[in-house]
Symmetry: C2
Subunit: 335 residues, 2 copies
């Protein structure tokens, strides 16, 4: 278990805090192209698995049966911020299935998007299950359950056939048997599998270029690429690095965040996958580290870097509106 | 620059995230009793300095002149959560000085206390300067400025005589010249000095037992001990480890948090000071680490540990209300 210094948080040029991490870049044959820190260490990929969990939704035929739009498929892969656009689409999708919010197994929460949360509170509303960042994924699971005529009750439990199939698909793409590894429960109630960081990188590389998977599986993955690339705001939301990376690079970088400092990216044109874990689980460091790796790999053009500048080295602004520091890749890293 | 593994965040018993840190325990003569990681590394103590910044408020005579209560002095040392009780006391104290919220240099924000913030939003209100966790400290500065007939404008700037005096007092107690070290600007606009972590530990030890400082300074410090111990809820708030540590130990542990993963404690009866920095700046790990050190030092009775259990190894509860993990001292630490 070892980490490298990835990200520094500075105040007036002096380092105030430091984020350590591990990361791996793999090609779709599983070869490690670059790595930092201990990549054999187990991670909980958490929401970084969502695009891979959506494969079964497409491959099973559920997506075609219910004529899911690009936006709905992007939402199935999402950790959405609970903006009005996300709330509306989850609600209308559930309604089309003949279901309601009560069918969702995730808990009731406020939107992660601050303005949206404040607007709700100001209008006298409270948290609800649709606002949960995982509600798109859950609606995807409900869609597949309906299509396969599986029970809707307890669809979130590891013993439910839907979760068993999902774990099989994940195990195939990650090329390990996830049932042999420790498993937890996620924030939304679903099983939270673990795998070595290396395996997460390999899975992302195969998600980037699925040529070695079955034809049905690879076609499902290409369908998800298309959906996310066409509707990047539905995989996260306005101002999010995940949405903006997808949007700015026009799908040549498909990023996905996970809780506790995980972030991944698939680079379809280069057949590369990236998996990164910030040891301490913080959100603020992971995007800065991922963007530094993308820059190091030459995966971003000057124009793309210009458009992503706010995520490459975010400014810290104090309560008086003054820029007092920044978050940046560690001076010692990637030299 | 080196850190030790202090805290692990687990999910179903498997470690998900790791927090590294450095810490020092000193006695009031400056002798290092225990240390972990590189204690010569510079830290921004941030709000951990507040009790020491309040010394001048008492020593200058401003506190007596304006008959500050224990609650007001505790608030002057505080990072309060912006609960109604804190809002009310800042407002009445300002009013007694003939001042208003507009005199505060800190920015307008929502309370850190989630329920209080939600209540405000639900009642159609917005953030204000009084809600800022530093508004008690700022009101303290305004009190001293009035007493010393210093300008009230720009009292937050480093060149203002009040800040110069504060830096002198801090330099005295930390036994270094802070003007020779890098300085930033804090979240509330005030100067944010740096010092080696060791020096912060020494300063806390002298705050615990000020016998080697001048009589006036030591009496001011004893007055602050009394205020905080009598009004622990005004130095932070309900549910906060800082308030609960002070309350449960009846003042034998005077803790104070700082931003970016800093926490300190003064143990008056033992003449010890503790300074701790979580490298990544996270809040969730610092209290767990501090409590582990206090336990290691034998500074908590069984009854106190029982009362503080929620802070010693906090449970992680998911959106469905299920306990899915915990935050705990690293298995490898303090053995």
């Amino acid at each position: 278990m070892s980490y490298e210094l990835f990200v520094e948080v500075t105040r007036n040029g002096t380092v105030e805090s430091r984020h350590f991490g591990a990361a791996v870049v793999c090609d779709y044959k599983g070869v490690v192209v670059e790595s930092w820190g201990d990549i054999e260490n187990l991670v909980f990929p958490r929401s970084a698995l969502k695009p891979m969990l959506a494969i079964h939704l497409v491959e099973s035929g559920a997506s075609d049966r219910y004529a899911l739009s690009n936006a709905e498929l992007s939402l199935a892969c999402s950790s959405h911020q609970g903006e009005q656009m996300h709330q509306n689409l989850v609600a209308s999708w559930l309604s089309r299935l003949g279901l309601t919010e009560d069918h969702l197994a995730c808990g009731a929460v406020l939107p992660e998007h601050t303005e949206s949360a404040h607007q709700l509170l100001a209008s006298g509303q409270q948290g609800c299950r649709i606002h949960h960042n995982c509600s798109g994924k859950h609606t995807g699971f409900l869609t597949t359950s309906l299509h396969l005529e599986l029970p809707l009750d307890n669809y979130h439990l590891v013993e439910h056939p839907l979760q068993q199939r999902s774990l099989e698909t994940l195990s195939d793409i990650a090329d390990i048997d996830l049932q042999q590894y420790p498993m937890g429960i996620d924030g939304c109630g679903l099983p939270a599998p673990t795998m070595p960081l290396l395996q997460l990188g390999r899975a992302m590389a195969r998600f980037a270029n699925p040529v070695d998977l079955s034809i049905d599986r690879s076609q499902a993955i290409y369908r998800l690429h298309e959906a996310i690339t066409n509707e990047p705001l539905y995989i996260a939301g306005h101002g999010s690095v995940v949405s903006e990376l997808n949007e700015v690079t026009k799908g040549s970088v498909l990023a996905k965040s996970g809780a506790e400092g995980v972030i991944t990216a698939a680079l379809p044109e280069r057949g590369l996958g990236i998996a990164l874990k910030i040891a301490d689980g913080s959100s603020r460091a992971r995007a800065v580290a991922l963007l530094a790796i993308l820059e190091y790999l030459g995966a971003l053009s000057d124009e793309e870097k210009h458009q992503l500048q706010a995520h490459i080295a975010p400014k810290l602004v104090n309560s008086r509106g003054l820029a007092v520091g920044e978050i940046r890749p560690a001076a010692s890293w990637l030299k």
